[in-house]
Structure formats: C-alpha cells, structure tokens
C-alpha cells in the first residue's frame, strides 16, 4: 500500500506573549515524522495536551507549521495555492470532537451539508435535496431531518450530521479528532461501527485521534503513541498491545482500566511518577525521563531517535537504541 | 504577592498610553476639528482680531499639528489649560473652584446607589421571580428610561413647591472650616452640625435624581451576579463539605463583588456626566453649571477643560477599579 500522507519532521510552536514580548513557546508538536498508508486507519493516541489535536489540524492545514511539512499524495501541503489547495480541501476532511460546537446553530441540516457540496464539488447535483437526503441516509438519518436545526438532535445524531458533511465532500482522507469522546458508550459503538462501514464502502484512509487506547485499538491498523509533542512509538495495533516497547506505552497500557475484573486485578500495575510536565519548557533529553521508571543518565541528556526495531515497529527510547 | 506587584507595574505602564490617548482626543476636538480654532478659543465670532492673533501665537496654532500637540501636552502638564474669554480667569482655577461641589454630588450619589442598589439586588436574587424581583426590574428599566433633567424638575415640584420639605436649588451653607471642599465631609470634620444639616437637605434631591438611573442598574447587576455565584459548582461543593453558613456566605460575597465593582467604576463616570445635567436643574454650583454657562457664552476653553478633567478622573477611577479587581481575583494577576 502506498503512503498517502507523509509527515516530515513537523513542528508547531505557539508563542506565549506577555505584554509585547514573546516569553516562551508552547511546543505542541515538536519534530514528528510518520507515514499513513492508503486505505488504513492510523491511530494517534496520547493524553490531553500532548499535541495530538494540533497535529491533526496541521495535517488538514487548519494551522501553519513552525517548520517541517506534510506531503499529501506527494505534494507539499503548505505550498498549495489556488486550485491545488481547493483540490486538497476536497480530498482531505476532518471530523471534530465536540458535535455541539461543530455545527453552526443558525443553519439547518440541509444548508450545512449543501454548503459543503457547493464549496468543494465541481458538479453541483441537479436535485440537491435528493442528494443531501441520500447522504443523510448513509449516516443513519433520514429525509425528514433535512430541514431541522442542530439543536433538535442528540449528541450522537449531531456527530452523524458532522460525518454527513464530510461524506458530502467525497474525500479520500479523513482526520477523526476524538469523534466519540463526548458520547456515551452505547452511542459510541454505533458511531465507531458506522465509521468502519463507511471506510469499507468508500475506501477512506483515516487518521484516528483519541485519548482512549481501547477505542483506538478497535479502530486502527497501526498506532502511534504521542507524549509531549513527540511520537514515542509506532507499531501495528496488535503488536503495541501485546509487546509494547516504550516505557510510556507500557505505563499507559497498564493505566487503562480493563472491563474484566479477573484480568484487571491480576495484571501488573505500572504507574508513571508525577504528572506530565508543561509543554512550555519540556525537559531536555527524553521527555518522559522524569517520570520513567527505567530512566538512566543518558535519557536526561540526549533525545532518543525514533528507530525501527522490527518491521513496522518504531520506538524512541535509549533502552533499544545503541549509542 | 510577587504576581500582584508585577500586575500593578504592568497596569500602571498601560496607564501612560491611555493618558496620551485621552489628551490626543481632547487635542483633536480642541484644535483640529473646529474650522477656526483660534476664533473659537477667543470666544467666538465676537472676538477681537488682535486677541485671535495673540492666541495663535500663544497656542502655536500656526504650527503643524504634531508640534501643536507637543505644546498642548506641555501646557496640560504645567497647568496652563487656557484662559476663559468670559471670566478672564485661568480655566484650571475655575475647575478647581467648581470641582469639589461636583465631586461631592457624584460621591453622594454613588453612596446612595450602593446602599440602595446592592441590597435591592441581593433581595431580588434571593426572591427570584417574586413580586419584589419584578418591582426591582421595573425600577431598573424606568431608571434607564428617565430623562434626569425632567425627573429633577418633577422632584422639585413635589418636594419643594408642593410639600415644602426640601430646598430646590443651590448648595447648603459652607462649614466653618473647609478641608476638602466636600461640604458634607468638612462640616462633620469640624463638627459644624448646622452646616451638615443644611448641606444634607440640599444634596438629597439632586443626589437622588442623579442616582436614580444607577440604582436599578446596580440592582440588576447585583442580582445576576449573586444568582451566578449561587449556581456555581464551588458553592454547591461548599455545602457538600458541610461548611458553616457564614463560610459559605463569604464565598458568595467575594465572588459576587467582582462584577459589581466593575460596574461601579463605570457608573462613577456616568455620575460625573449626569452631574452636568442635574446641576443645571438644581443650580448646584459645580462643573455642570459651569459647563452649561460656558456653552451659552461660547466659552470653548472652559468646555475643553471640563472634558479633559472628567476624562482624567474617569481613567483614574478605572485604574483604581482594575487594581481592586486584581486584589480580589488572583486569576487577573497573571
């Protein structure tokens, strides 16, 4: 399978202004590289503030990077202008976390979806109403929902509308930024299954961003683990659960509660020390070293490179790198 | 406390551009907008040509605007606010004479507003959606709709002409010794109770007239901020923790005071302004009466002087409010 998205040493630093001077930088994304292959779901997991949402926004070019770049289908995303940019917008879309804020409260469902069509498609369907209705049916809504306002829907239904808006664009690649984290368990399962079905039907490529490892595991083929603006491990999803290499991944895995009392109580419990440091002045060397149970002196000094240990399994940790 | 100090320094630093902005705006109105500022400053069309020439020289009106502004700033800070073509006295001296009366009236109204408005607001928050709440709402709306000059006249009609209870115009007798120029305060300080009584009688009508629109406003703000705080999670949690009622009250009071202080700062400005109108009705010998006289005599330096002083006072009051704010709310200090 060919890579469809290539992220190359991407950085995004946000300035912290005090009075008129820049006092420091929030290093939200700090040198990240990976590829996403056509047709796969690439999971990106990490705790809040690790920069995963910023990364998602960079990839769809809602933000401009500080340095580094993203290639989509071989083209540098941040150099696209005019028609090429329009083409990119048609092929790449994003679904957001909060379905309560992602729909304009003053627009009816029909207008929301039709706007997406008018903005991105060259051929405008003759009977827009029928077309929009057909898209709504794909996401489990019906024609009678066309002329209603977002407030008339529940959270799960709103997320369906947001997905319909993306479907209307007929993209190839979709960034799913925590699409179910504000929904209840039973609704979450519905949406996740629907996303899986849609992927099969339209051959979408997904970047699935979440803090919930279990959900990411269910959805993804490969998973990247992010910590404080850096990717610490990338592996196929089964492998990351069966044989996690990075101490942070291990800690993360043993921190998620398992819905099975027997396993939950018999497994080993690893806990990180303290809390994640602020991304404003991240610790030198490996960013996880102050909390790492296995840190050594080298970890405090030098940043470990992301290296391939096995086929498709990358890790950034001095335990595995030779120096 | 380090943060607070840092905040104060920063806030004082932003005070400087604000003052420059204020002087710049008054400069624009005084020198740039009028078609022929020299004539205006000399007292209008009736002014003698030689006086006009003298003023052009004195205020450097023949120079380009930025140089004029430089001299204007210099004059302001050295106290040369112009000479009134009507009284032939320095404007700043006139303002110094009239200002205490206005300050007294505005402060009195502020106290009336606070002591009536805040309790009313608290009551209507606690008795939400009852008749008291509705009455307070009506007071607020009618206050916002009231032409104060008309209200003043009506009150004079009732309390002076009809009932003969209170004097309609002027200020009370001056106390034996004046320290601040605020007669009420001074008469208390020197123990001159006759003067105090007379001043209190005189200030009630104009003070209440001026305060009326503000009382309702303060009551409404108080009501909504008390309601906000009461529904806040931390108050809920304070009850869950089984705190003593007096402790819970402390949380409510401190949090609700923030928006109230903000609005009081803004109100002081509108009280100063409202005083201009109210004083006219009650012949209160303050800046307002002075301004209106200046308007009818085309005494332009006087008008600009009053504008500048009110602007400066207002900016300073806002500075004080911001500082109070930072003392109460640690989040602001960042």
């Amino acid at each position: 399978m060919d890579p469809i998205v290539v992220v190359d040493n991407l950085r995004k630093w946000f300035p912290i202004k005090k009075l008129f001077f820049t006092k420091g930088w929030v290093r939200a994304v700090d040198g990240v590289s990976f590829i996403i292959r056509e047709g796969e779901t690439f999971g990106l997991v990490g705790e809040s503030g690790c920069g995963k949402s910023t990364l998602g926004r960079l990839i769809v070019r809602l933000l401009e990077p500080t340095s580094g770049t993203v290639y989509f289908e071989g083209k540098d995303v941040f150099r696209l202008r005019g028609r090429e940019l329009k083409e990119f917008r048609r092929k790449v879309q994003i679904v957001f976390q909060d379905p309560y804020s992602s729909l304009n409260p003053r627009m009816m469902v029909f207008d929301i979806v039709a706007e997406a069509i008018k903005a991105t498609q060259q051929e405008i369907p003759e009977d827009m109403e029928d077309y929009v209705a057909s898209i709504l049916e794909k996401v489990g809504l019906s024609r009678e929902h066309l002329y209603r306002y977002p407030h008339e829907f529940s959270g799960g239904q709103r997320q369906r509308i947001a997905i319909a808006r993306v479907l209307a664009v007929r993209p190839k690649f979709i960034v799913l930024d925590e699409p179910t984290s504000s929904l209840d368990v039973s609704v979450q399962a519905q949406i996740l299954n629907m996303l899986k079905d849609l992927q099969k039907e339209h051959n979408f490529t997904y970047l699935f961003i979440s803090h919930d490892l279990a959900v990411v595991k269910y959805m993804s083929h490969r998973i990247a683990v992010m910590y404080l603006g850096k990717i610490v491990e990338i592996a196929p999803s089964d492998e990351i659960f069966e044989a996690p290499l990075h101490p942070y991944t291990q800690v993360l895995l043993s921190s998620i509660p398992i819905p099975d009392p027997k396993i939950a109580r018999s497994r080993m419990k690893l806990r990180p020390k303290g809390e994640p440091p602020s991304p404003i002045n991240p610790p030198p060397g490996c960013r996880f070293h102050p909390r790492c149970p296995q840190a050594c002196s080298l970890c405090a000094r030098e940043e470990p490179p992301l290296i391939e240990i096995e086929r498709d399994h990358y890790v950034a940790c001095w335990l595995y790198a030779r120096k | 406390m380090g943060e607070l100090k840092y905040y104060l320094i920063r806030r004082l630093l932003t005070f400087i551009p604000t003052i420059i902005g204020v002087t710049l705006l008054t400069f624009l109105i005084a020198r740039v907008i009028p078609a022929n500022p020299a004539v205006l400053w000399a007292g209008g069309i009736k002014a003698k040509p030689e006086v006009v020439q003298l003023l052009i020289k004195k205020y450097h009106l023949d120079k380009p605007p930025h140089i004029q502004y430089f001299y204007y700033l210099k004059d302001i800070f050295t106290g040369h606010w112009g000479i009134s073509p009507v009284t032939h006295r320095p404007v700043i001296a006139d303002i110094a004479t009239y200002f205490p009366a206005t300050a007294e009236l505005a402060l009195f109204s502020l106290f009336v507003t606070i002591f009536i408005g805040i309790p009313l607001g608290v009551i209507s928050a606690l008795k939400k959606d009852t008749w008291i709440d509705h009455v307070v709402r009506i007071i607020a709306i009618s206050g916002a709709s009231m032409p104060v000059f008309w209200l003043g006249i009506i009150l004079q009609w009732i309390f002076y002409y009809s009932l003969g209870l209170l004097p309609a115009t002027g200020r009370g007798i001056p106390p034996r010794i004046t320290y601040t120029g605020l007669y009420l305060l001074d008469s208390l300080l020197c123990g001159d109770f006759e003067a105090f009584r007379s001043n209190l009688q005189h200030i009630i009508l104009p003070g209440f007239t001026l305060a009326y629109p503000c009382i309702g406003l303060v009551a409404r703000i108080t009501r909504s901020s008390v309601l906000d705080v009461l529904s806040a999670d931390f108050i809920d949690y304070a009850r869950i923790r089984g705190l003593k009622p007096s402790f819970v009250f402390r949380h409510v009071f401190r949090n609700a005071s923030i928006p109230i202080i903000t609005i009081l700062g803004l109100l002081f400005g509108s009280l100063l302004c409202g005083a201009v109108i109210t004083e006219t009705v009650f012949s209160w010998p303050g800046l307002g009466t002075y301004t209106v006289a200046a308007i009818s005599n085309i005494d332009y330096p006087a008008i600009m002087g009053v504008t500048l002083i009110i602007g400066l006072v207002y900016v300073t009051v806002n500075l004080i409010v911001d500082i109070l704010y930072a003392i109460i709310d640690p989040r602001i200090r960042l």
């Binding site: 705790e47 799960g156 039973s186 398992i258 819905p259 027997k262 990180p272 | 931390f234 089984g242 402790f247």
Partner: protein
C-alpha cells in the same frame, strides 16, 4: 458478602420539575452499601446516578425534589434529619469527591484556606493555625509534591490532577465513614486517573472508609469495586458482585453495555451496539424502560414494570425474563 449495612436507600424518588415536564431522574430505587466495601453505581449520562449521590446528602438543586424515600446512614434517616445535624454529617461522616475539581474550588481562595475551612467547620473550636498545619499534613498525604508551596497556591495555579488531590484531601479531612466519589476521574487523563484511583483506594484502606463510586466507566468498576449496581433511566436494573456481573450479566442492558465497550486486550472485529437512543426521561412509557431498545422484549414488558428479583444469592435483576408471572 454481607456485613453491617452502612447506607440503606429505600424507595428513593427524585423528580425534577422542569419546563419540559417532570423528569423522573431517580424513580424508586433501593440500595444497600455495606461497611468497608467499595460499591459502584454505574450508568450512562442522565441515568440518575449522580442524583442518587446528591439525594443521599439531601442536596438536590431546584427544580428537583426528593419526592419520597428514606436514606438510612448508620440507622438515622438523613432525609428527615434537621438541617443543622445534616450539615454536621456532610463533609464529616459522608464526604464527597466531585467530577470536576476545577469548578469545585473557589478561584478566589488558596487551597490551604479551603481545606482549613472544611476542618474548622466541623471540628468545633479549632484554631486556624492548627487547621492550616493539618491541611499541610493532608496535602502531603495525598502526595502533592512541595506541599508547603502548594498550600498557598490558588486553584488556577494547579493542574487538574493536583486539584483533584486537593479535593480528595478535603474529603478525608474529617475521617469520613462513607466516601462518595462521583466520577472522580472523568476530567482527567488515563495515567492521572490511575494514580488518583490508586490514591483513593489507598486512603480508603488507611481510614477504613466505605466507598461509593459513581461512574460510567465499567473498566474502573472492574478494577476497583466489590459490588455493582447498574442504572438505566432512573431505575436500578441489576445488582451483583463484580465478578458475577462481568461474567454472567443477566439484564439485556447490562449485557449490551458490556459488549459495547471495546476491551483493549481482546481482539474484537465488531462491537455490539445497543440499538436506538436513550429516550427522553420525560413522559416515560409504562412497563420496562429498556423495552424499546431490548431485543428480548415481550408483551408484558410494555405493560408492567419488572420487579427486582434475586436470581441467585446476592444477584438481583429487574427483568421479566427472570421473573415468574
């Protein structure tokens, strides 16, 4: 698994009289929590689990009202206690850890002050100085680094996890007999969640407290609790000990819920999803509340509410599949 009953809830009903109609948030539930255990109340958003916790403390905000029921705590009915005696129990015998520590702390006061006032409120004549020293000790106990510095911090200067530690330190300040934790980790990250849950369990052991955990996260239940009650739309549908519940769930809702959560350690091709949506809690249909989404629904489910029956020892379920009629 039976011992001394610490908390008994009988036929509790809490209704909210809203513009939309009467919301029966809690509609006749019975519960027993034993001394020393950790008991979980599980359910999705809006099922009324938090309302139960609030009702135990008799702190239901208007337009809500406790319509009926009794809540016995150590044999005393909290719902008929005079306000003053109840206040003495709140925060002392029964402590509460809330969902969002950021909004639970007053932004205008230091953490130290807020912990101290909790102590002063309950322990008669305590000097503020002593209370402050005790607060410092508590902060150290909940493993806050640099406690001497943190005690003078305002809430906005602390991270979410730290704030939750401060809230926990308040809740244990008066050595409670019952600790109600209402979604204590929902606002926190996974690793912090694990730390906080560990801390709560450790303190529970140390103070020999009973824990009532309210959560939507079945993982937490599996990991930390002894017994579980599952709630759906204001009713308890199933009560059992954790092992039994996860191994042999009886109620169709419990079964669906367990199949709908992804288990990261198992390979699942397709999650089960409970069809339909949670209906509006206003004007509920008669009969079983889960009927519209239930694949086993029978005629009787639409007509009559299923009673709570003990299918096997200490395993209760409210479903017509198991009730004899």
């Amino acid at each position: 698994m039976s011992g001394e009953v610490l908390l008994r809830v009988e036929d509790l009903r809490v209704y909210f009289y809203t513009y939309a109609g009467v919301v029966k948030a809690v509609d006749g539930i019975d519960l027993e929590v034993y001394r020393g255990e950790s008991f979980a109340l599980v359910g999705e958003t809006g099922c009324g689990k938090s309302t139960v916790a609030r009702a135990v403390l008799r702190l239901i905000p208007p337009p809500g009202r406790i319509v009926s029921g009794r809540v016995f705590f150590e044999g005393r009915d909290l719902l008929s206690l005079p306000e003053k005696e109840l206040r003495a129990i709140r925060g002392a015998d029964i402590a509460y850890i809330c969902q969002d520590p950021s909004s639970a702390l007053d932004p205008l006061y230091t953490c130290g002050y807020q912990i101290s006032e909790t102590i002063v409120s309950h322990q008669g004549v305590v000097k503020w100085r002593d209370a402050w020293m005790y607060a410092l000790k508590l902060l150290k106990q909940v493993a806050i680094p640099e406690a001497e510095k943190r005690i003078k911090n305002y809430p906005h200067e602390l991270s979410g996890g730290m704030k939750q530690r401060v809230v926990i330190s308040m809740s244990i300040a008066n050595r409670p007999k019952l600790l109600i934790a209402d979604e204590p980790t929902t606002a926190l990250d996974v690793t912090i969640q694990a730390q906080i849950m560990d801390l709560i369990m450790e303190l529970k052991k140390l103070y020999n407290t009973t824990l009532l955990l309210i959560t939507h996260n079945l993982g937490l239940v599996a990991e930390y609790c002894d017994r579980v009650a599952v709630m759906y739309l204001g009713k308890i549908v199933e009560v059992a000990d954790v092992y039994t519940l996860f191994e042999k769930p009886l109620h169709p809702y419990t079964q669906g819920l367990l199949k709908a959560i992804p288990n990261p350690l198992k390979r699942v091709e397709r999650l089960y999803s409970i069809p339909g949506m949670i209906p509006s809690p206003v004007n509920l249909p008669p009969g079983c509340r889960f009927r519209p989404r239930c694949q086993f629904a029978k005629d009787i489910c639409a007509r009559e509410e299923p009673p709570m029956i003990e299918v096997e020892p200490n395993h209760y379920v409210a479903c017509w599949m198991y009730a004899k009629r």
